[in-house]
């Protein structure tokens, strides 16, 4: 990530309040709950993965065990997002 350490994430990710476009994916039970697999958010105020969830899920509370990835790397909900990121939300994994 091309963030700088000490600034608050919001001002880093979108310093001049351009409209960012973020691709969003939901998998498995979250896909069924939210009712969509793929969507995108376009916003001037989104700065973290948590913000993306709120916009993309229609404001529903995030289940406690939700896993999140930005550009296919695991992150937590505070992780900043930038224009063009792909953010994914999914329940605990059950492969193998």
């Amino acid at each position: 990530m091309n963030m700088i350490g000490s600034l608050p994430p919001e001002s880093q990710s979108n310093p001049d309040r351009r409209t960012m476009s973020i691709a969003v994916k939901f998998f498995a039970s979250l896909r069924e709950q939210v009712g969509k697999a793929d969507t995108s958010v376009e916003s001037q105020t989104v700065s973290s993965v948590q913000d993306v969830w709120e916009l993309a899920s229609g404001g529903r509370p995030m289940p406690a065990n939700t896993l999140m990835a930005v550009n296919m790397d695991y992150v937590d909900a505070n992780h900043p997002v930038v224009e063009g990121d792909e953010v994914a939300f999914f329940p605990p994994v059950t492969g193998g």
């Binding site: 994916k25 296919m72 605990p92 994994v93 059950t94 492969g95 193998g96």
Partner: protein, 143 residues
């Protein structure tokens, strides 16, 4: 170091055998091969399971499996590893995953194989939905 996602039934033993013969080409170098096969049971949490659908996150799944394969190779003295994981509609007794690890000595093969399976089970983005006699459910406990 190979990772494959398959959407069709496969024979894990033929796969390991063919990989060893055609790709590995390290005859006489490995003294140890550890293979784990996870296959679909017809019962879970006390219920009969008729079928299963395995969903994954294309690209992230492969990247994650490649990452843990690289980590295993850094941590143990391995010759090679192979992971094949099934997605899509799976029937009871079909293989879901095969992990094979080749090394000169057995400790590395055993330990790396277990490591790969534990990392795969805990973090690789796959999700199982079971079809029961009536209805279906997402698997929540991945024991």
């Amino acid at each position: 170091m190979t990772v494959e996602i398959r959407n069709q039934d496969f024979d894990p033993y033929q796969e390991v055998s063919a990989y060893q013969r055609e790709v590995l080409q390290a005859d006489g170098k490995y003294g140890a091969t550890a293979v784990f096969v996870g296959s679909m049971r017809d019962f879970n949490e006390g219920d009969e399971i008729r079928a299963m659908t395995l969903e994954h996150y294309p690209e992230m799944t492969e990247q994650y499996l490649e990452k843990i394969s690289r980590e295993a190779k850094q941590r143990w003295d391995l010759i090679d590893s192979l992971i094949i994981h099934r997605v899509g509609d799976v029937s009871p007794n079909e293989p879901i995953v095969v992990v094979a690890v080749w090394s000169a000595h057995r400790a590395a093969a055993y330990e790396a194989n277990r490591y790969l399976m534990e990392e795969l089970k805990s973090r690789a983005p796959f999700w199982k939905k079971e079809t029961l006699v009536q209805g279906s459910r997402w698997v929540e406990k991945n024991t």
